[in-house]
Symmetry: C2
Subunit: 149 residues, 2 copies
């Protein structure tokens, strides 16, 4: 039997969201939130378009997932995100009591681990899934941005 709904499957969906951000000139970060192998929320970074530092992909997806569930806790949810969350997003995930966080690329400068932000004790973490593809999209974004300026 082939395992269709594995971490790579959902990370690919998050990468598709990141590509939507890229097309809009936003730092390409994408997210999906999954419960029982079903995507209940999607999001991509919109900080430039909305002029809003709080419009990270994760923040939008937390709000959307809670709205779908009709409650503020994401206890049985897995979040797939293409880049390691920042202090703000990890802080929001702390409150949400997320069950599992899967992220692709590490943010060596402003990632929550470097910054010392605490997730909820119940949140399990997996990292490095599709790191190459998601990092390469981010690198392409910053190279193109530099060439435009």
């Amino acid at each position: 039997m082939q395992l269709i709904f594995d971490d790579s499957y959902f990370m690919r969906k998050a990468l598709q969201e990141a590509e939507l951000a890229f097309e809009k000139g936003e730092i390409p970060v994408g997210v999906v939130v999954v419960i029982d192998n079903r995507i209940i929320a999607r999001g991509h970074n919109l900080t430039e378009m909305l002029h809003d530092v709080t419009a990270h992909a994760e923040m939008q997806a937390i709000t959307a997932a809670a709205n779908f569930l009709g409650g503020k806790y994401l206890k049985d949810c897995t979040m797939y995100v293409t880049l390691e969350p920042c202090q703000m997003c990890a802080g929001a995930l702390y409150w949400s009591q997320l069950s599992k966080l899967v992220f692709a690329a590490t943010d060596h400068e402003r990632g929550y681990r470097k910054m010392g932000t605490k997730l909820h004790p119940k949140t399990k973490v997996t990292s490095g899934i599709m790191e190459e593809e998601t990092s390469s999209l981010l690198k392409r974004f910053f190279i193109e941005k530099r060439n435009l300026n």
Copy 2:
């Protein structure tokens, strides 16, 4: 000459926002954002009503202030908040490059200082303004909540 627009003046406005949260059964935290002695955004905690862990007073006020200013940075702004911000809100303030943060009560358990969250290096911090009034509102909230359960 009497200094009308001092920190206590604006913290009192933030406390009025906290009282609105109290009346709605929300943990009573209130915020105002000020630029040139003018309030450009207000907010109070709405996490229960919106079923949304991201609906802290500060997060709403950051979005509202940026919307008012037409840009995502709050470089010339002062935020007055009745309780020390959490990891999430401090993380959002980090991105906003807020000029000055004034908070009243210390959150000894989940405040950003206890949690080790970093504000932007340019953000100045003042604390303890009207600590007694804001703490007393929080205590009253938790006592009433306990008695209802």
